[in-house]
């Protein structure tokens, strides 16, 4: 088995950042891959498949995160997760539950 470590930096564009719903979707996406995937932000590294971990980063709009994967599908995992953060997340409808 070839283990490939891949790493890429991406900027968060949607206004709620990597919180709540976007975080849950990101984690689900990460779960589709075999590789071990980590997200690094502010010197903190968490499991990309853990919603608690990803939310605890508190990565908000305009911040850069690093996505790093190790495993057979690591190339694909990083590519798709970067794409997700760049293009899919900003499309997410934001909940307006708390505004009155």
């Amino acid at each position: 088995m070839i283990i490939l470590a891949v790493k890429k930096t991406v900027k968060i564009k949607n206004s709620t950042g990597l919180h709540a719903r976007p975080a849950a979707l990101f984690v689900k996406k990460a779960g589709e891959f075999e590789s071990d995937i980590n997200v690094i932000f502010n010197d903190k590294e968490v499991n990309a498949k853990s919603v608690m971990g990803v939310m605890s980063l508190g990565a908000s709009k305009g911040k850069e995160i690093v996505i790093q994967a190790e495993g057979e599908d690591s190339q694909k995992a990083v590519e798709q997760l970067v794409k997700f953060v760049e293009y899919e997340m900003p499309k997410e409808n934001e909940s307006s539950e708390d505004e009155e």
């Binding site: 206004s15 709620t16 950042g17 919180h19 709540a20 719903r21 849950a24 984690v27 689900k28 968490v46 499991n47 498949k49 853990s50 919603v51 608690m52 971990g53 939310m55 605890s56 508190g58 908000s60 709009k61 900003p90 499309k91 409808n93 934001e94 909940s95 307006s96 539950e97 708390d98 505004e99 009155e100």
Partner: protein, 569 residues
């Protein structure tokens, strides 16, 4: 006791205190042999918790819609989290403690971590984690659930209620909610309003001290009052109020699916005002036939930067879709003056109401106006949206604003983006100058909507935020009534429709006058819709015209008001 009126209505009933915030968790040391057993117990509790969350998710989706059910999906993810579940196991193994204590320790750690975060939203997520943890712990400890105790209708009293608390409750049996914590925007308040259950929140620490299980309690969700073991006099008073309230609600219910029309069958457009997406459901539930004023300010408030075109597009699209073919009038940003956005650094002004605000501001701030107009136009193909400009005082302003719309239309066409080419464009009539030139304005717009709150303020020169002169701020002033009539006449002369979206549109006394001067559209908050619909059905055209004629000849606001009171049906 006094709290915050979070959801209107009155309830009288037996109290049921929800105390499980302090479930006793024993901490036991276990032997090496017991470790496997505790881990098995943990997994079976996790499986049960997931199953109950799944059921909650489905029942909530059916009761309140998919959006409200999403929270339980998030809770399920926490229970499957590849960091959290091993942490539970590790705690049991390494520290040799029982599963319930292990779950509590891990959850406490996460709660502490989230509570320390800067972001308000993430801080609140700590509550979700605690909620999930308590669910698992309760299963492990075999603690009874509050729902088991709900044999009859009750007033639920609690420190605070979490999403899974409220979803677990059989809400058909809940007469009211009372909580120690919370505000008008807290979960309990929002949920209670969407369920139509009276609620008083934020009562304070004394609530659980004073409350007893199974004792009589009165909840006044209109005024935020709660009475425990009330006196006979108070009880009588509230029983009377409750009877009145229920009778009124039941009577008005009849009008929900009725067309809004006068006694002689003239159809009137009766629509709602909305300030955010939560207002959609009440408007539809009360039989509102669309939206006459969608204030877009909420998109810009409580944040640190401007909303993107994309964000706005999603919101406008959602509104367009929910109302289908029904009209939705979107007012472009009405900010500035008294309504400040800290991140835009508005300079302080001597006369903010006469200042740099609304359309005056939007016309100069292309980077703000353009994304909004683009978002509205792009969303226009999903429903029946209309654009309305606030604070128009001259034809120049209107033309400039329309030019912007036309430029964007051309751009969208070049980009191959679909939109409704026939989208109606209208203006708020809220400045006397606009009324005086309404004959010209009417030639260049598709509709007028009279904003009475500001029209009164500018006509009578009375600051509507100044309590000392609040009495002078009245729609019954003859000058205001004449301006209303003039606006409608000028509009009709050019065959455009004229609506009203200020508070006066929902004024029960003013109704016959407005029908008499032939206002085409009435837009008000959802709570007023049924009452106004009922009153409309009692007047015919000739009668209303007589009232209008009479009113226009009266000389003071006092005379107008007392006359309208006399003839009220």
């Amino acid at each position: 006791m006094q709290g915050i009126a979070a959801s209107p209505g009155i309830a009288i009933g037996k109290s049921l205190i929800k105390k499980d915030k302090n479930v006793e968790i024993d901490r036991n040391t276990i032997s090496d042999e017991q470790i496997e057993n505790e881990i098995n117990k943990l997994h079976s509790a996790l499986a049960k918790a997931k199953q109950s969350l799944k059921e909650l998710k489905e029942s909530t989706a059916a009761k309140l819609g998919e959006e409200k059910a999403e929270i339980f999906e998030a809770h399920m993810m926490i229970l499957e989290d590849p960091e959290v579940v091993p942490a539970f196991e590790k705690k049991i193994k390494n520290e040799k403690i029982n599963a319930a204590a292990a779950v509590k320790d891990v959850i406490d750690k996460y709660v502490a971590m989230f509570s320390a975060m800067e972001d308000d939203y993430l801080r609140e997520r700590g509550a979700d984690i605690r909620d999930v943890g308590m669910r698992v712990i309760k299963i492990l400890l075999d603690v009874e659930d509050i729902t088991d105790k709900m044999e009859e209708d009750v007033v639920v009293i609690a420190k605070d209620l979490t999403p899974s608390d409220t979803a677990q409750l059989d809400t058909d049996k809940v007469l009211a909610f009372v909580t120690e914590e919370g505000s008008r925007t807290s979960h309990t308040a929002i949920m209670a309003r969407s369920l139509g259950i009276p609620a008083v929140v934020g009562v304070g620490d004394d609530l659980l001290k004073e409350a007893n299980d199974n004792s009589q309690v009165i909840v006044d969700g209109n005024n935020g009052r709660v009475y425990f073991s009330p006196s006979v006099a108070t009880l009588d008073e509230y029983q009377e109020k409750l009877k009145e309230y229920n009778k009124e609600q039941k009577r008005l219910e009849y009008y929900k699916d009725k067309k809004a029309e006068t006694k002689d069958g003239k159809e009137i457009e009766l629509v709602g005002n909305m300030g955010n997406l939560n207002d959609i459901k009440p408007i539809l539930n009360k039989g509102g036939e669309g939206v006459g004023l969608f204030r877009t300010e909420f998109l810009y408030m409580d944040r640190n930067e401007l909303p993107t075109e994309e964000e706005q597009f999603e919101v406008y699209k959602e509104v367009a879709k929910r109302f289908e073919e029904k009209p939705v009038v979107i007012r472009t940003l009405d900010i500035g003056g008294d309504k400040d956005l800290p991140y835009l650094n508005f300079p302080e002004e001597m006369n903010p109401f006469l200042g740099y605000r609304a359309i005056r501001f939007s016309l100069e701030r292309e980077e703000i106006f353009k994304p909004q107009l683009r978002a509205i136009l792009r969303a226009s193909k999903f429903g029946n949206l209309k654009i309305m400009f606030p604070m128009i005082s001259s034809l120049d302003e209107l033309r400039k604003a329309k030019d912007k719309v036309n430029t964007i239309k051309t751009e969208l066409e070049a980009e191959g983006i679909e939109y409704n080419k026939e989208i109606e464009i209208g203006i708020m009539i809220e400045i006397p100058a606009a009324v005086m030139i309404a004959d010209h304005l009417a030639q260049e717009v598709d509709f007028f909507s009279i904003g009475t709150n500001d029209l009164i303020q500018y006509t009578i020169a009375v600051d509507r935020t100044n309590e000392k002169i609040a009495e002078r701020h009245t729609p019954y002033h003859p000058a205001v009534l004449r301006l209303i009539k003039k606006t409608i006449d000028y509009g009709h002369a050019q065959d455009i429709w004229v609506g009203m979206c200020g508070e006066a549109a929902g004024d029960e006394l003013l109704l016959p006058f407005l029908l008499g001067v032939e206002l085409d559209e009435f837009s008000m908050s959802a709570v007023s819709i049924l009452k106004i619909k009922e009153l409309m059905s009692k007047w015919n055209k000739v009668e209303a015209q007589e009232v209008a004629q009479k009113v226009l000849n009266l000389k003071t606001a006092g005379e107008v008001k007392s006359y309208l009171k006399d003839i009220k049906k």
